[in-house]
Symmetry: C2
Subunit: 358 residues, 2 copies
């Protein structure tokens, strides 16, 4: 680890995001708790980062709770267990949670914080590329239900989010790359210059060079921050963040959860969205190729299940589907996206049949 430089501070929809090396060691200053007391929750996979945060908060940790790793632990039962431990420890409503871990940890802990005593503060310390680029920012929290992912949840933004690329050193390669898809996605929908820079520095990104990683993450976070600050409740601009997700969610579910990483399913969803965009918005062919080329170098990603009957069923059931129809996100050009409610399930199935990542 090199010495920490000053972190970048980004405000987004109720959260303050601190991006920089060494932010975890500065947790006592950067994390927020009205009472000064913290409830630390983390899975085994994040033990190194949790150790750093624990040491930084020394003497102020009211509860130090282990969460199981993996999507299977993202359940209402896990929320109940966190509630039980927190109430046993004497939680008051001005104490704050700290979730250290991947998207599962921040989703579950954030949801527990949202519903305990009708809402206590929390902080997020994401330790994966996916978590840093996406999960904790914007306040979406939640758990899965037998009938699908994230079907129970709440909007409850963390007070502070610490993003430290040094946490990524031990992240498995597949998770590292899948998470980068979300960061690139943010660039593609909102920042063409960032997209070009990130594509040019792909070798450095894949080598996890902190400078390249920080540039992409800070840029992706700024895109997301601008969209969620304008639209906390998911009705308008924020939906642009779902680029690749309309079909992506269905591919992820159809393939069986755990088969594809979320970011991998999103990569395929983007491939399909490119097909529809090229036809409907006139997205230039060289931009289609640029996006697909970056996705191909971030991969290769496992092939998803493409059964049209199954995908159709899942698309119709998507929780963002309203009486008006699917809220599809298309790309007008690199850095510019739009929501289109006129794309039919049929078009998505046709795109899924021909999408490719090479």
């Amino acid at each position: 680890m090199s010495a920490a430089s000053s972190p970048v501070e980004i405000a987004a929809g109720g959260s303050t995001i601190w991006v920089g090396r060494g932010t975890l060691r500065d947790a006592a200053r950067l994390l927020a708790s009205p009472s000064g007391r913290f409830l630390l929750v983390s899975p085994p996979s994040a033990h190194a980062a949790a150790d750093t945060v624990r040491a930084a908060l020394s003497g102020r940790v009211l509860l130090d709770l282990a969460l199981e790793d993996g999507e299977a632990s993202k359940t209402l039962a896990a929320v109940d267990a966190i509630a039980d431990a927190a109430l046993s420890a004497g939680l008051h409503r001005d104490d704050a949670f700290v979730a250290v871990g991947g998207g599962v940890a921040t989703d579950v802990v954030g949801f527990a914080a949202a519903v305990l005593l009708r809402g206590v503060p929390w902080n997020a310390v994401p330790t994966t590329t996916a978590g840093m680029a996406d999960a904790a920012i914007g306040g979406k929290t939640g758990v899965n239900h037998a009938r699908g992912k994230n079907l129970l949840g709440a909007f409850h933004p963390p007070r502070s989010i610490l993003i430290d690329p040094d946490c990524l050193a031990t992240l498995p390669e597949r998770d590292y790359r899948a998470g980068l898809v979300e960061a690139f996605k943010a660039a593609w929908i909102g920042d063409a210059a960032l997209a070009s820079r990130a594509a040019a520095s792909l070798p450095a990104l894949l080598a996890r060079e902190p400078r390249a990683v920080l540039d992409l993450l800070a840029g992706a976070i700024r895109v997301k921050a601008a969209l969620v600050s304008a639209d906390l409740r998911d009705g308008g601009e924020r939906r642009l963040l779902n680029f690749g997700h309309t079909l992506g969610h269905a591919l992820e579910a159809a393939s069986g959860f755990g088969t594809l990483r979320h970011g991998e399913a999103v990569a395929w969803g983007i491939a399909a969205a490119l097909e529809i965009s090229r036809r409907r918005t006139g997205l230039p062919e060289e931009q289609v190729r640029a996006v697909r080329d970056a996705l191909s170098r971030l991969g290769p990603f496992p092939s998803p299940e493409r059964d049209p009957g199954r995908l159709a069923e899942l698309l119709v059931r998507d929780k963002k589907t309203t009486a008006r129809g699917l809220a599809s996100v298309l790309l007008d050009s690199l850095g510019r996206a739009r929501v289109d409610e006129s794309v039919s399930v049929r078009e998505w199935l046709d795109a899924a049949a021909i999408m490719s990542l090479s």
Copy 2:
């Protein structure tokens, strides 16, 4: 039933409350659903009211679900069951729940609506005096946890609330009277004229005469509406509604849930708060007597458990207790209350030892 007159419309913190006879028969017009579709949830005790609402919404009910009666069904498991049924029925985020029943039904269904798909609309049709005076207004929803009542929940105001005194015809006497305590409480903290009128019409109220009931409920709702609209998240003025609740919650828990009705525990809590107010705020003696006289005529209420050790433990753990201390509500004079954070647990225990309702 007599013919319906025009209902009174009251806006409160995101909800529209329709108060009047016959409002249930007009449910198709008065309840809100962006999609026009409803998910009806009600316990057996509210079957008559549910029948009226069901008939009024004919053809627009996507799900018709029975909930168990009683505080024991106010659990996370019940929320999970509602989620399961709603998702199986094909819930979309622009469909709306309708909870028909007492405070348990509106609390559980409101919480399910708050977390399903991170929030879908809902409507409340309270069928008890307690529910009409208190439970559905202001957006507090939630369930109990092994460690205490309402420890898991969310702020999620119903779109519409229908208040029809004809629903009260079959309510058991004890529930009817306990619920009236909450309505009187609203008058005592916020509307001295209403408090006098209600005290004068106590015989008519106890005879459930619709005109007297409507006057008290509409007045109590206006008091609550003014307080919650100014303070949706429970930090300031809204806390005045907790008059009688600081000790009341502890009495309710110490006596064993189900032993005292909530309103009965609040009546005792008010009796204790009168003792502290008389000493600390100079609440005039004749006003102390007026409040106690009304409570005595609403009762008699069963005696609570007064063990000081147990009460002290529960007071400290109250979810409204912050690092600053208990948020106690005292009465300055009839119609005027204030939050005082300097009242010690010791003072509450002393007041509990001498409080009386006769």
